[in-house]
C-alpha cells in the first residue's frame, strides 16, 4: 500500500457532502480528480521507501505541484494526513457544462480539463479557458483533473485557474448555511490557501456572457510540452468597442507571484486605446512591471519578467485578432 490509512465517504448530494465536511472538520479533505491530493498523500510514503532503498534525497523527488513559486515544503509542513476523504465522484450534476440562456457559461466544479477542452463553444468564445485546459499536465492528468480541484488547490501556476480568473470567473460555493458567489480573483490568498470555509464546497464556476467582439488567449511557457509546470503563464482578455478601441481588457499572470496575479497597470494602459502594436507593447511592459517573480529551479526572476513582457504582447495580439480587430 502506498497510501496512508483513511476512510472514504461518498456523498450522493452536495448537501450531504457539505454536512459530512462540517461533521469531520479539519480531519477531512475533499477528493475530486485526485491528481494532486492522492499524490500529496503518497509522497511521504514513496519518499520513505526511496530512503530505505538508499536513494533518498528529498530534493530529487519532485512531482507536478511542488517546486513552483511559493510552493509549500511537502516534507516540512507537518500537516497530519486527513482521516477522511470525501469523494465527490457520485455528484454527476457537478460535471455539467452549459451555456445559460443569458449567455453566461457555467462549468460544474467536477468538469475535467478534458471535458472543458472538447466543448466547441468554450474553444470558440472562452478560448483562454480551453487553452488553459489544453495546457494542464498531460492527457491523463486532463482526463482526471477538474476545474474545481485546479482552483481550490490554489497553486500560482494553475493552468485552468489563471485563464478562469482572467475571464471573470464567479465561484459558486455551497455550505450547510447556504450558498454564496465570489469573484475568482478574491478566492486565492496564498499558495494553497483560499478563503473557502471549512464546510464549503465549490460547486460551479460561471463566466460572464461575452459580446461579439471579444477575444482571449492563454499561453503556457514551459521547458517541455507535457507534464510541465509553467515557468510563466499569461492569460489575456480583450473586448473591442464599435470604433475599434479597447472597451475592456484583463491580463492575468501565472507563476510570477504567490497567487495568480492581475496585471492591473497593463489593463489600465489598454483601456480606451486603439490596439496598435505600440499600445500592446506598452501594456506588455506594464505587465512585466506588475509581475513579482522569484528565482527558482524553473527559471530566474529576470527571465520570467522578460517572458511576461514577450508573452503578454503575443497573447494580446492574438486576442485582438480573435476579437476581430487588428493590432
Amino acid at each position: 500500500m502506498t497510501l496512508p490509512r483513511f476512510d472514504v465517504l461518498v456523498p450522493e448530494t452536495v448537501e450531504q457532502a457539505c454536512s459530512l465536511l462540517a461533521e469531520h472538520g479539519g480531519g477531512a479533505r475533499v477528493l475530486a480528480g485526485g491528481t494532486d491530493l492522492l499524490v500529496d498523500l503518497k509522497r511521504p510514503i514513496v519518499q520513505e521507501r526511496l530512503i530505505e532503498a538508499g536513494g533518498g534525497d528529498p530534493g530529487r523527488f519532485t512531482t507536478l505541484g511542488d517546486g513552483e513559486p511559493g510552493a509549500i515544503d511537502p516534507w516540512g509542513s507537518g500537516d497530519p494526513p486527513p482521516d477522511v476523504l470525501i469523494s465527490l465522484h457520485k455528484l454527476a450534476g457537478l460535471k455539467r457544462i452549459e451555456v445559460l440562456d443569458d449567455g453566461r457559461l457555467r462549468v460544474g466544479a467536477l468538469a475535467t480539463a478534458r471535458e472543458i477542452q472538447r466543448v466547441p463553444e468554450i474553444r470558440d468564445r472562452w478560448t483562454a479557458l480551453a487553452e488553459g485546459a489544453d495546457s494542464l499536465g498531460s492527457p491523463l492528468v486532463r482526463a482526471r483533473g477538474t476545474i474545481g480541484g485546479n482552483i481550490c488547490n490554489a497553486r500560482p501556476a494553475a493552468d485552468i485557474t489563471v485563464p478562469a480568473i482572467c475571464l471573470g470567473a464567479q465561484l459558486e460555493l455551497q455550505s450547510p448555511d447556504g450558498s454564496r458567489t465570489l469573484p475568482g480573483e478574491q478566492f486565492i490568498l496564498a499558495p494553497g490557501v483560499t478563503v473557502i470555509e471549512p464546510a464549503e464546497i465549490l460547486t460551479a464556476v460561471t463566466f460572464p456572457a461575452l459580446s461579439a467582439r471579444t477575444g482571449s488567449a492563454y499561453y503556457k511557457l514551459g521547458q517541455r510540452k507535457a507534464l510541465e509546470i509553467s515557468v510563466v503563464g499569461v492569460a489575456v482578455y480583450v473586448e473591442l468597442a464599435g470604433d475599434d478601441t479597447v472597451q475592456a481588457a484583463c491580463v492575468t499572470l501565472g507563476a510570477v507571484g504567490p497567487t495568480p496575479l492581475a496585471a492591473r497597470s497593463a489593463a489600465e494602459v489598454l483601456a480606451g486605446g486603439k490596439p496598435t502594436g505600440e499600445l500592446l507593447a506598452r501594456a506588455a511592459r506594464a505587465a512585466a512591471a506588475d509581475a513579482t517573480p522569484i528565482d527558482d529551479h524553473r527559471g530566474t526572476a529576470e527571465y520570467r519578467r522578460l517572458m511576461v513582457e514577450m508573452l503578454t504582447r503575443r497573447t494580446l495580439e492574438l486576442a485582438v485578432e480573435r476579437a476581430g480587430g487588428r493590432s
Binding site: 500500500m1 477528493l31 491528481t35 498531460s138
Partner: protein, 156 residues
C-alpha cells in the same frame, strides 16, 4: 473498514471487499491478478498504469478502488479476443514498438481510446495523445508508426 464494491473488468463483473485506501491499480494487480497493468512512478507522471474507466483513460495508481464502484474498467488483458491480438497490438509487435515492454500496456490503452474517438489521427494527434505515457526505450518513433499503421489496417 473494508467496503464491498462491484465493478466490471474487461466485461466480467466482480464484487470485492476493499480497504478505502486501496488503489484501482492494487485491486487489479493484487486482488484480480491482472498484472498487465504496470506500476511505474505511482504518482501520475509515467502513464504505465493507464486503464480505461468507463471508456476514458485513467491513472489506476491515482484512482481509488472505491471511486471505480459501478464502473466498467478495461485493461490490456481485455484487448485480445479469442486469443487473437487486436490490430493495435499486432501493429506494436510488427513495428517493433515494444522493447522492454513496461510502458506497452499503458500505451496500448491510451492508443486504443485515441483510435476509438479518432480513427484517423495524424502524427501530431498521435504524439499529443501519448504525451502522458513515458517510454524509455523506443524514442517513441516506432510507437507512433505502430498506431498509424493500426489506424490504416483497420480501414483497409
Amino acid at each position: 473498514m473494508k467496503r464491498i464494491i462491484s465493478l466490471a473488468v474487461n466485461g466480467v463483473e466482480h464484487e470485492l471487499a476493499v480497504e478505502p485506501r486501496r488503489t484501482l491499480l492494487e485491486l487489479l494487480r493484487e486482488d484480480l491478478s491482472l498484472t498487465g497493468t504496470k506500476k511505474g512512478c505511482g504518482i501520475g507522471d509515467c502513464g504505465g498504469c493507464t486503464v480505461l474507466l468507463d471508456g476514458v483513460p485513467a491513472f489506476s495508481c491515482l484512482t481509488l478502488a472505491v471511486q471505480a464502484e459501478g464502473c466498467s474498467v478495461e485493461t490490456v488483458e481485455g484487448l485480445a479476443g479469442n486469443g487473437r491480438l487486436s490490430s493495435l497490438q499486432r501493429a506494436f509487435v510488427e513495428d517493433g514498438a515494444i522493447q522492454c515492454g513496461f510502458c506497452t500496456p499503458g500505451m496500448l490503452m491510451t492508443a486504443t481510446e485515441l483510435l476509438r474517438a479518432n480513427p484517423h489521427p495524424d502524427e501530431r494527434e498521435i504524439r499529443l495523445a501519448i504525451s502522458g505515457n513515458l517510454c524509455r526505450c523506443t524514442g517513441y518513433q516506432k510507437i507512433v508508426e505502430a498506431i498509424r499503421h493500426a489506424a490504416e489496417a483497420d480501414h483497409e
